[in-house]
């Protein structure tokens, strides 16, 4: 499977959701699409699924432009909170429809999972709570076994136990039936160890695309006495530096992959790894962050 975006721009009125996005995704991998709210994640996924037409630029998948392509729609599923199913259909009828739409759909798996999560298949989709709706949608997406499977913020509103079970099933399914899986989110909620690659979008632009492990290794958190943290941080690229306790500070810094950071532990400095979530949040943070905004708004008091 390969999805290719070339200079894709998407505008809603005056708002630009995507700005000249060029991105090539290839291989049966689990890829995290990360970014803050409004970064353009959902627009990118909807364009890949053929649900939206780009304002400019080209998208290609399976040799076709996804928009209005029957080939693409048979090979793609986009799971998101706004998934609309016919209100007159019970869940079991929806499963039957999905089976007709997707040749590899595994109805037995879907039914067993719904059963496990306590979702009765005679219910109507609109009757479900937010968490249950998202659970049903995600089960549908997993069971569809489409070569390109996309989940937009899939875990919202779910219980921790359900979330963890679904991620386990997703990984088992991926191993048994490899496919390209795109998972978007701004809160990662346990997904981060599943990613082989990450794509980071910021204000509609591509900020980073690469191997997830290497990306994470590019960041280090150092903490200790403030003066020492500042001194250590003065020679490297600092994404974030803040006081933790009076006289103590913590910084997230970027290091080139493969280099070791020289730190004198005798001075009380500690270095630890940074989670994927903290890394991308630090990378997309405005200078000074919320502390600066608050300080400016209140005249620095």
């Amino acid at each position: 499977m390969e999805v290719d975006f070339r200079n894709v721009t998407k505008k809603y009125g005056r708002t630009e959701a995507l700005r000249e996005l060029t991105l090539n995704l290839a291989g049966d991998k689990i890829i995290g699409i990360l970014g803050r709210n409004g970064a353009g994640k959902s627009s990118a996924l909807q364009i890949a699924a053929g649900h939206l037409k780009p304002s400019a630029g080209d998208v290609s998948m399976l040799g076709e432009n996804p928009f209005n392509s029957l080939l693409v729609s048979a090979n793609t599923i986009l799971v998101h909170e706004g998934m609309a199913f016919p209100p007159a259909l019970r869940l079991r009828a929806i499963l039957a429809e999905l089976e007709r739409a997707y040749p590899a759909f595994d109805k037995k798996l879907a039914k067993s999972l719904l059963d496990h999560f306590g979702i009765p298949d005679h219910a109507f989709h609109i009757q479900l709570s937010k968490g249950m709706k998202n659970t049903f949608n995600m089960v549908a997406g997993i069971a569809a076994r489409t070569p390109l499977t996309m989940f937009d913020e899939p875990l919202n509103g779910m219980d921790a136990g359900v979330r963890s079970d679904l991620l386990k099933v997703l990984l088992k399914e991926y191993i048994a039936h490899p496919r390209m899986i795109l998972l978007s989110g701004h809160q990662l909620e346990g997904m981060e160890e599943l990613f082989e690659e990450v794509v980071i979008l910021h204000h509609g632009r591509l900020l980073h695309h690469g191997n997830a492990d290497e990306f994470k290794e590019g960041f280090v958190r150092i903490s200790g006495p403030e003066s020492e943290v500042r001194r250590a941080a003065s020679e490297v690229q600092v994404l974030e530096l803040h006081e933790t306790l009076p006289g103590m500070a913590e910084a997230i810094i970027m290091v080139r992959p493969g280099t070791t950071l020289f730190m004198n532990e005798g001075l009380g400095l500690k270095s630890t790894s940074v989670s994927l979530g903290d890394a991308y949040v630090a990378m997309t943070r405005k200078k000074g962050g919320i502390d600066r905004v608050y300080a400016d708004a209140t005249d620095g008091r």
Partner: protein, 124 residues
């Protein structure tokens, strides 16, 4: 062993360490098959590519060897390789710590070496 994403050690190194521990304790015996990348991925809920990176790290050091189509096996030399590397690594680190501490205290090289010599002598 639970994988700890916050521990400061990359996940694939934690996987490699865990297999090494298994070899040292005899859980994996020589010429025996170790877990596949997929088994490791499911067990620790990580991407199979990350698990594979841990396995190939051990293969690169000669701790594991690959049998085509069958998977990864513990090489007869594995224990010795792990033992040697860990001993050197740990000792090296402690020496570095001692040097850092000595500098902080303003000890000279001669003073530090004489302390080392005393320690070595004291063991006899």
């Amino acid at each position: 062993m639970p994988i700890n994403p916050e521990s400061g050690i990359p996940i694939y190194l934690q996987i490699a360490d865990w297999i090494e521990d298994g070899i040292l304790t005899g859980f994996f015996e020589e010429n025996e098959k170790v877990y596949s990348q997929y088994q490791l991925a499911e067990q620790y809920r990580i991407n199979p590519a990350t698990a594979a990176k841990g396995l190939s790290l051990l293969a690169d050091q000669g701790i594991l060897y690959k049998k085509r189509g069958l998977g990864m096996f513990v090489s007869p030399d594995a224990r010795r390789i792990i033992f040697t590397r860990r001993r050197n690594g740990v000792l090296q680190e402690k020496i570095r710590d001692a040097v850092t501490e000595a500098r902080l205290l303003g000890l000279s090289e001669v003073e530090l070496i004489s302390m080392l010599r005393d320690e070595m002598g004291g063991d006899k």
